[in-house]
Symmetry: C2
Subunit: 198 residues, 2 copies
């Protein structure tokens, strides 16, 4: 195209999203254009109000429309178990599994000294005060089993032990449906060490 | 999540886009939320004005902001060659290749009697009048080599021959970088029949 029209501008914007290249962006833009205008309108409205309607929960640090968030203010959930995650979308993912009925705590990152992220940059102080205030009996460390995640897990484990709360971490091993042949060496050795008695 | 908040609503909308499943939609929604609010605002504005600012070109039938479209009104482009495509995004794709400097004609679909699409539903009459009016010397049929595409190509070829204009179609064969081992039988046999003398 010689001119830079409304479709091109939309393509440029969509191509900035993660996992969406130029071709996908073109496909999406034309799909939206070929779809009823009401879809584009509703999507536009949602995007316009997104940042205004979503804030951080003052209790757990997750994204929410109301403060405290629906999970923190839900009396039906177990106050004595706190699941520690890196970022708000991890709360979403764990909620989707429907396996956990306690409360959450969002760290806001992982300890990564090389990237300049130190324990003081994370909401660890707030986690400790929540653990004491709520008299939590277990803290589940649910961060990714990466270098930064493991560092953070180890750090939190030491600090939380001093407070006298039970600390656990998510099981690491071969994913369901996985294939031994394609599993990396570290995962395999970790799953052998953490083998389960039958 | 117990409640249906602004993030969930955005996820539901994004998951309606082609090639975007629930997981990708969640990832995109959180990415937008974590990105500066100005991105969401600009994207929202683009979506809001999209359907109002884009219309069909009365000459070629492609999407455009101005009528006639920049391609149809570009005097630097060859008026005597018309490239016939199925839909507006095909114009975009061919323009990206920078291989064609003539004009376009958007059919608005392909002949598919089983789906109730007959020649009368496509802009074939307008194509014929353009060919006569502009005294075009060549029409390139650039539709996908599918059942419907081949049917349409055959139909247009017969009609256009009567008008006395040269008709060509895109070469069909093994894509560049393709592997003989993985090419389907039909493409392979077509590329053998259409082999090029060296």
């Amino acid at each position: 195209m010689n001119t830079f029209n409304a479709i091109d501008r939309l393509v440029v914007l969509l191509a900035k999203l993660p996992g969406i290249g130029k071709k996908s962006a073109v496909r999406l833009a034309y799909h939206i254009l070929n779809t009823d205008a009401s879809y584009a309108r509703v999507l536009s409205e949602q995007l316009a109000c997104l940042h205004d309607s979503i804030k951080r929960c003052s209790e757990c640090g997750s994204f929410t429309e109301t403060d405290p968030c629906p999970i923190c203010s839900d009396s039906g959930r177990d106050d004595s178990v706190i699941c520690v995650v890196e970022k708000p979308q991890d709360v979403y993912v764990i909620e989707e599994s429907r396996e956990f009925n306690g409360k959450f705590h969002v760290l806001g990152g992982l300890i990564a000294p090389l990237d300049g992220v130190n324990p003081g940059d994370l909401s660890i102080g707030r986690l400790l005060s929540r653990v004491k205030r709520r008299k939590a009996c277990e803290v589940i460390l649910a961060v990714n089993p990466t270098l930064e995640g493991d560092t953070t897990t180890l750090y939190l484990q030491q600090i939380l032990k001093e407070v006298g709360v039970e600390v656990s971490r998510l099981a690491s091993g071969i994913p369901v449906g996985g294939d031994l042949e394609y599993i990396d060496r570290l995962t395999l050795s970790r799953s052998i060490r953490a083998r389960v008695k039958m």
